[in-house]
């Protein structure tokens, strides 16, 4: 299915304004939706028989820095039977960023969301087990934020090298 058809399908299900922005320059092509619409859109993507995005390849969190004052979460979907892919973006505020969790649809989201929470501090509402994944549980701060300052010492170990 072509990108235009995917967009048309989504608009058909949820109305014209469901897609905030379309980016055809990105590869794979990307759409932006509101974070509160994410769950509905994902369900259509997963369940609709002509879309059938059965694989969630990757979840990436991006911090746009204090000037832009936004954060983004980017989802890469892929449909194995139809061989089409889609990139989906949601934009979150930088203060207390929270997105709905997709664990109940794609189990892949579990660890990817935990990692995003760990490294960027984005909360995923409805995640069953949102703990830090890569960093120690008592680490301070979220290292991939653009204004992150290194700790000087962690348990007597010098962090800066």
């Amino acid at each position: 299915m072509q990108f235009e058809d995917i967009i048309a399908k989504l608009r058909e299900e949820h109305g014209e304004e469901i897609i905030v922005e379309v980016n055809e320059e990105a590869s794979p092509k990307m759409i932006t939706v509101k974070s509160e619409d994410l769950l509905q859109v994902s369900e259509v993507l997963y369940k609709n028989e002509s879309l059938f995005f059965d694989m969630l390849s990757c979840i990436t969190g991006v911090d746009n820095g204090p000037e832009m004052n936004t954060m983004e979460v980017i989802y890469n979907f892929y449909s194995i039977p139809f061989e089409h892919s889609l990139m989906l973006k949601i934009i979150l505020p930088r203060e207390n960023p929270a997105a709905p969790s997709l664990v109940n649809i794609w189990k892949t989201a579990d660890w990817h969301e935990r990692e995003t929470y760990d490294l960027l501090g984005i909360h995923f509402d409805g995640h069953p087990d949102l703990r830090r994944l890569l960093m120690p549980a008592d680490w301070e701060g979220h290292p991939l934020r653009k204004d992150y300052k290194n700790l000087e010492y962690y348990r007597g170990i010098k962090v800066e090298y």
């Binding site: 980016n23 694989m55 390849s57 980017i74 890469n76 660890w111 994944l133 890569l134 170990i157």
Partner: protein, 405 residues
């Protein structure tokens, strides 16, 4: 500085930094927590498993990652694209060439020079990547056999892997972490005589593969330990995003070399083997191992075809410059790209965001196949025996460098 205490030991350090998910109160009276790792050979690196058991039966597994976290994404955000290649090597250190290949494909896609790469460079890349894929599968098969109690296959596989490692050392100068595939080209043309040595290796290894099959794959003890153990149904595998030999072991013919047809793979004739449940159920540990063995066979075929092309149609010429397209300065225009390639363990993807104003990526995320494959471990081992848990973990074939990044 030299006399300074490097680590302040306190009894509760571990409790604070990596606390168990399960507390005493959460357990039923017959259940207990068994801690596996982080220092244990069967975890294939530094991985801690919190295993909840009822006698011999596993109730739940909680993996604790991060012991080998080396901040790849943070480093990638502060280094130019070409200087990150050595860091990419260190993701999956058993298949560094494949990771480099994926990285180079991604960055070239951003620069829009994918179609301009000389054919000889592409064939060299595929040749070394397939050699490395075999080496990675050798380690997977060898260590897997050792996990479940057979020592000889490990030594046999290491012996054959040594041939590959020496070949790659000859080409790149390094045994494991090559920095050979560069953005836009390769580090150096193949050394004179390399293609012939590859051919010799293929001829040497073909009969060894049958030997290997007799030694482990058809071995009664091996079959008893792995058939019908850790059965992974296909729908669950896809829902967890599992890729590579694990997904193919569950019976889906899905290989990015075919699906995406990147590099020169569409010009090469090879099959994608899948698990058929010959010894037990489709998608069990035996199937996954057998798929790896069959993939080694396919890699031999690919290597033969590459060698043929590299000595024939695209043979070495004095004026061939592998650096011809290597950009002096990599500054892609502002864009977002997700590029992926088939590494020996599955889909290795890189998400890039460039802002068009600097030589370093604004954000770079590695979608690691081992990381995603490992996430299925608790689902896969629930209800099995502790001894089978080791067999299941081994069959996933993880490299902790890529899990923790």
């Amino acid at each position: 500085m030299a006399n300074q205490v490097q680590y302040q030991y306190k009894d509760d350090n571990l409790l604070k930094s990596e606390p168990n998910k399960y507390k005493e109160g959460d357990l039923k009276s017959e259940e207990m927590i068994v801690n596996l790792g982080p220092q244990h050979p069967s975890t294939h690196g530094v991985l801690r498993m919190e295993v909840i058991t009822d006698g011999e039966i596993i109730k739940d597994v909680v993996p604790h990652l991060g012991y080998l976290h080396r901040c790849f994404e943070k480093h990638a955000e502060s280094l130019p694209y070409n200087q990150t290649v050595p860091f990419v090597d260190r993701l999956d250190y058993l298949a560094a060439m494949n990771s480099e290949h994926a990285w180079a494909l991604g960055v070239e896609k951003m620069l829009g020079i994918t179609d301009q790469i000389p054919k000889r460079v592409e064939y060299i890349r595929v040749l070394v990547a397939e050699l490395n894929r075999m080496a990675s599968h050798f380690v997977a098969i060898g260590t897997y056999a050792m996990d479940i109690g057979a020592f000889t296959p490990f030594l046999w596989m290491m012996r054959d892997r040594e041939h590959i490692i020496r070949l790659l050392e000859w080409a790149s100068g390094a045994r494991m972490l090559y920095n050979y595939i560069w953005v836009g080209g390769v580090f150096y043309d193949l050394p004179v005589g390399f293609e012939e040595r590859c051919k010799q290796f293929v001829d040497y290894f073909r009969p060894k593969l049958d030997e290997l099959k007799r030694l482990i794959i058809d071995n009664k003890i091996f079959v008893e330990r792995t058939a019908n153990v850790g059965v992974l149904p296909l729908d669950l595998a896809i829902n967890y995003g599992v890729t590579g030999p694990m997904l193919r072991g569950s019976g889906l013919r899905y290989d990015l070399r075919k699906v995406d047809a990147y590099s020169v793979y569409p010009e090469i004739d090879f099959e994608v083997p899948v698990g058929e449940g010959l010894m037990g159920t489709k998608g069990d540990c035996w199937d996954r191992t057998y798929v790896r063995v069959l993939e080694v066979k396919e890699s031999l075929k690919i290597i033969e075809q590459c060698v043929e092309k590299l000595t024939g149609e695209h043979k070495r010429t004095p004026d061939f410059d592998p650096h011809a397209l290597v950009p002096k300065k990599i500054r892609p225009k502002a864009q977002e790209v997700y590029a992926r390639a088939e590494s020996p363990k599955g889909e290795l993807g890189f998400y890039f965001r460039a802002n068009g104003k600097s030589d370093v990526p604004y954000r770079c995320k590695a979608r690691s196949c081992c990381f995603v494959n490992l996430s299925i471990i608790s689902e896969l081992s629930r209800g099995s025996l502790i001894a089978d848990f080791i067999a299941i973990l081994g069959s996933i074939d993880i490299v902790l460098g890529e899990v923790d990044r």
